[in-house]
């Protein structure tokens, strides 16, 4: 059913990760993504993998849901790997016809695919454990300081949450209009790309008109319920940091330190041990 589609793919479960403040999850995701580019060498990635595995385990979301997110980028991943594999100059390993795989290229390809994969899995952990609503709330609170430089943070968050609310409604409407047009012999299926795009016009025009009408109605309903922007507004579900949120921040800090240290120190340690032996 069209109406069952939700944005992001929230997975309902009762876990610590689900209960965390959305700001913690947003912040951690950003830090995690940055860390993937800061950490160096295999040891850094090992720490990242460990951290990710821990979070996934705690979130109680089945691993296959994370992999689903990967499917969307398989193509991108493949291209990146191929380009890096063949086009990085360096010490040649294998040469097939005109293509050469270099040692550096192989290394680059492996690291890049790990990076991209972790990035996708990491951010899907966030979307799987946070409802879109919590996300907008978290964003609003996090970006609040930007209010001082005249960024309409509350308005942006409100727009996001209204957009999210209307996605299923507009989907249903599209479905309805499509059926109405099909009943009058509209053809959305055949022809080449341009023809198909053209055939969408009779679908999009009524959809836009109805969206504007809805927007107008909604604005009136919001005004009738005393909506007048973000000033003096109280929150039904205000965000408060709790003990677990501080602990989460501490764990993330440990992770970053550990990751950087591992990337720098482990190679030294390993070579030291080798020398000793």
């Amino acid at each position: 059913m069209l109406r069952d589609i939700t944005l992001g793919q929230y997975y309902q479960a009762d876990s610590v990760i689900h209960k965390l403040d959305p700001r913690v999850k947003l912040g951690t995701t950003i830090i995690f993504i940055i860390s993937l580019f800061v950490f160096q060498g295999a040891w850094g990635y090992a720490v990242a993998a460990l951290f990710l595995a821990l979070v996934i385990k705690l979130s109680k979301v089945p691993f296959q849901f994370m992999v689903k997110g990967m499917k969307a980028i398989v193509f991108l991943l493949l291209i990146t790997v191929i380009f890096n594999l063949f086009l990085t100059p360096g010490e040649p390993l294998v040469t097939v016809w005109k293509l050469t795989i270099t040692k550096e290229g192989l290394r680059m390809a492996v690291f890049l695919s790990i990076r991209l994969g972790f990035l996708i899995i990491g951010s899907s952990v966030m979307t799987l454990t946070t409802t879109p609503n919590q996300l907008t709330d978290g964003l609003e609170k996090m970006l609040k300081p930007l209010n001082k430089i005249k960024v309409p943070v509350h308005e942006i968050a409100m727009m996001m949450s209204i957009a999210l609310r209307f996605i299923p409604i507009l989907m249903e409407e599209t479905d309805k209009i499509m059926k109405a047009q099909l009943a009058r012999c509209a053809d959305f299926e055949s022809g080449n790309l341009i023809k198909k795009a053209k055939s969408l016009v009779p679908l999009l025009v009524p959809l836009f008109i109805s969206a504007f009408r809805r927007a107008n109605d909604l604005a009136m309903a919001m005004e009738a319920r005393c909506y007048r922007g973000g000033d003096n507004r109280t929150k039904m579900k205000p965000l408060h940091y709790e003990k677990r949120d501080y602990i989460a921040y501490a764990i993330v800090a440990c992770y970053v330190i550990l990751g950087i240290a591992a990337g720098k120190l482990m190679p030294l340690l390993v070579s030291g041990i080798i020398q000793l032996v």
Binding site: P132, N133, L218, A224, R225, Y227
Partner: protein, 287 residues
């Protein structure tokens, strides 16, 4: 003091053609005066384009009079400083339930009004619980509005208005887009609010069956109030209502037809029970 006073209200809007040139002026509400007492259930009836929705929007300070004055709880709607007070005093429920639900979860939507008013968090939760219980939607509080039926959505909208603790609720054709079952649900909820919570209700509709419980009925046509009185008084005028293209409830119509044929049946029968009694006594008389 009455909760709503309308005096000599005229509302005109300018029709424009596609280039924006003035084509003419339409008078949507033409010299209407009416008063609504605190705690009353008032129904405003009328065909499409009779000006009933326009009239309703004046009671919530969404539209302002071209001429005349509207007072809500003694406050003039044209004064800017009262706008938010008025919107809080007189809550409004609109026709399309999808276009007035803002929250993605039922309870969040009901909390939207109190949030805007700056009610403290604890009290918002109390209000939400109490209003959802008042319309019988408490067990759906964690649902997404998209999963509810039309009647349920409309009851959520009503709860959203009650949570603002209004003295008066204006319902602008709340049942127009619902199926008969949903219509009954909504009307039952509205009547309960009027009976139990003593909230003034102004119901705008074109379904005649919904107005038989009202204390007072106004019938509008072409921007004017053409008939007014208790439901019984109004429904006695079957011929006049037919002229206004309004459907009379079937029982009333049947009673009217029988009466026209010379049967001794009283005027303005509203319910099946009344009709049965009238018919019984009529048969006894004839025997």
């Amino acid at each position: 003091m009455d909760i709503i006073n309308i005096k000599d209200l005229i509302f005109e809007y300018i029709r424009r053609d596609e280039e924006g040139n003035v084509e003419g002026v339409t008078t949507a509400v033409d010299d209407v005066s009416l008063d609504v007492k605190q705690g009353d259930f008032v129904a405003i009836l009328g065909h499409n384009g009779s000006g009933k929705s326009t009239l309703a929007k004046h009671m919530n300070a969404i539209l302002y009079p071209t001429e005349g004055t509207v007072w809500v709880d003694g406050k003039d709607t044209q004064k800017d400083e009262y706008v938010w007070d008025i919107r809080q005093t007189a809550g409004m429920v609109f026709q399309n339930p999808d276009n007035q639900i803002i929250g993605q979860i039922v309870e969040e939507d009901v909390g939207f009004g109190p949030e805007n008013m700056g009610v403290p968090t604890e009290e918002i939760w109390e209000r939400v619980e109490e209003s959802l219980k008042a319309v019988g939607m408490y067990e759906f509080r964690k649902f997404s509005p998209n999963k509810l039926s039309g009647g349920q959505k409309q009851r959520v909208s009503i709860a959203g208005v009650i949570a603002m603790h209004p003295k008066c609720i204006i319902l602008d054709e709340p049942t127009a887009m619902l199926d008969p079952k949903g219509r009954k649900e909504v009307i039952r909820a509205v009547r309960a609010l009027n009976d139990v919570e003593r909230i003034t209700v102004i119901l705008i509709t074109h379904y005649m069956e919904e107005v038989i419980y009202a204390d007072k009925v106004y019938v509008m046509d072409k921007g004017k109030v053409t008939l007014q009185g208790t439901p019984r008084e109004v429904f006695s005028e079957v011929e006049r209502l037919k002229e206004l293209r309004l459907d009379v409830p079937q029982v009333t119509l049947l009673a009217h037809e029988l009466r026209k044929e010379g049967f001794p049946i009283p005027k303005g029968i509203l319910t099946k029970e009344e009709f049965r009694e009238a018919l019984d006594s009529c048969i006894k008389e004839m025997l």
